[in-house]
Amino acid sequence: MRSKRNQRANLLRYLLLLAGAVLCTLPMIYMISTSLRPNGALYEFPPRFFPRLSAVTLENYQYILTQSKFYINFLNSVLVSVSSVALAAGVSSAMAFVIGKFNFPGKRLLFGFIILTMIIPGTTMIVPQFELATKLGLVNKLWGLIPFYVAWVIPFSTFMIKGFMEGIPNEITEATYIDGASVMTVFLRIALPLAAPAIASVSIFNFLTAWEEYPWANTVINDTSLRTLPIAIAGFFGQHQFTQWGYVFAMSVLTLIPVIIVFITCQKFFVQGLTAGSVKG
């Protein structure tokens, strides 16, 4: 009796989850299917969810992939994202190590302030940041994006890695100090390797943040050759009076592929990173 009820409840769970999975993926499938049909009709009539098999074409992908612009945009995105992630990982874990493992005057105030800035949505500061970028000559420069992206993710990264650093047993670090090691050695040889999982999960988030960032890059980058992928896609969208949806979505699919690869391969770290902050509260 009881097991039958359980079975029915289980079936219901799977059905609901399946429905949710369909809702999650429908827009993405529609995007892919639109990218696979001829670009001629602006809005296909009647619209179809799946393209007719006989009409499936790769012409949108061919068009995007024969344009040197796409490779430049792609490379720009890779350069900016990877440098931002690497720099953010370095400076944040150094800060997290010092804040998590040492006491110094003003520490609580400093950390509190860093955390407090997370309350302010990033785009809120776009006006003073634009003024700053102008003063420092960082407008319309690809590498000018990097310090802003790094600064953006420092609070979250430091917060997450600090929790991990605090968890490193003092006995391990103490023993190394007694052996005559310097602070720097302990950071590089002990703290960094032990905090590697936290740094990895934070870095995945930071990569996503940089890879998809739109408002700031759209504000400071003017040259077509300096655009990152999100700006290039958005630019495609506004370029002609009639949007070439086939091109837009082919480029979108190509942009999403690296993200999905990163996500699937690092799935485990992802969950770890997300939960470290939330459960501890």
């Binding site: 700053l132 999100p230 459960v279």
Partner: protein
């Protein structure tokens, strides 16, 4: 660990310095600059001179009817998308917590919208909700619910609704992961005790699950509220604020004021009002969660 030698103290400073310099220059300084310029007359032609004008910018903002329109839009967006994401996310997490097979697969699929960039997701939703788009076709020809195409993107509430649906669609996965992790930490003996007391599934959920994941609910609530006020790209891509700024939110309106009309002082004051609102909301949320027994 105390700092014994001078060289160690120097090394600690060297470890802190790079992060502090970047954070100080590109985040902390702009915050103070934002506060300062919100009290100054700062417009596009007056870049060099920014005389102090006290609260004039704030008066400008608060007496501007468009500000109140976009303020209400942001509040409505937050009030709809935050509980929407949390409830659905928690529901999915509870379902996932109850199954054994395919759990990872479902998790990955539910998380896909989260990792899809805002620009791309917004364009897909725009395409679907376009007047000549798929949804209208399904509604008119497929199901026959409406006789004419609905102009989803052209009116205030329908345009905002599209953005809100997108916001919920994109946010459920994050909530699911966060809540699932919290659910897995609830001690099993609490459930056993409740079962002995004769609690049904719903009672167990209310009396055991919810109180146990309270800190996670608070965490999600605060993060999502910030996210709700941060809505920008989807509005820009889906409605562009049309018609006549009726669908603009605080940030897209601030952006318009700053970069299309050159009123930087106004934009700074607006940003600060928004930051203050968020700060107050966070305090209220923390207080409410600490006091009340869920």
């Amino acid at each position: 660990m105390e700092m014994r030698s001078r060289s160690n103290r120097f090394q600690l400073a060297a470890l802190l310095a790079p992060g502090l310099i970047v954070f100080g220059t590109f985040t902390a300084y702009p915050i103070f600059r934002l506060l300062w310029t919100s009290f100054c007359d700062w417009q596009l032609g007056s870049m060099l001179q920014q005389p102090w004008i006290g609260l004039a910018n704030y008066q400008d903002v608060l007496s501007d009817s468009t500000f109140w329109t976009v303020f209400v839009n942001s509040i409505v967006y937050t009030l709809v998308t935050v509980p929407g994401q949390m409830l659905i996310g928690l529901f999915v997490a509870v379902l996932l917590n109850g199954i054994r097979r395919f759990s990872v697969g479902f998790r990955v699929i539910n998380y896909l919208p989260v990792i899809t960039s805002w620009v791309i997701a917004s364009l897909v939703f725009r395409y679907i909700f376009n007047t000549e788009g798929l949804l209208n076709y399904v509604l008119t020809k497929g199901l026959g619910i409406t006789s004419q195409n609905v102009r989803w993107l052209d009116t205030r509430w329908s345009g905002l609704s599209v953005a809100m649906i997108l916001g919920i669609w994109k946010g459920v996965g994050w909530n699911m992961v966060v809540f699932l992790a919290a659910l897995q930490q609830v001690p099993a003996d609490l459930y056993e005790a409740a079962e002995i007391d004769g609690c049904g599934a719903w009672k167990k959920f209310c009396n055991v699950t919810l109180p146990s994941i309270r800190s996670t609910i608070l965490f999600a609530l605060i993060m999502l509220t910030i996210g709700g006020f941060n809505v920008f790209t989807s509005i820009k891509m889906i409605t562009g604020g049309k018609p006549a700024h009726q669908t603009d939110t605080l940030l897209t309106w601030m952006y318009h004021k700053a970069f299309s009309t050159g009123k930087f002082g106004y934009a700074a004051a607006l940003s600060f009002i928004m930051a203050l609102t968020l700060g107050l909301l966070a305090i209220v949320q923390i207080k409410a969660m600490k006091n009340k027994d869920l």
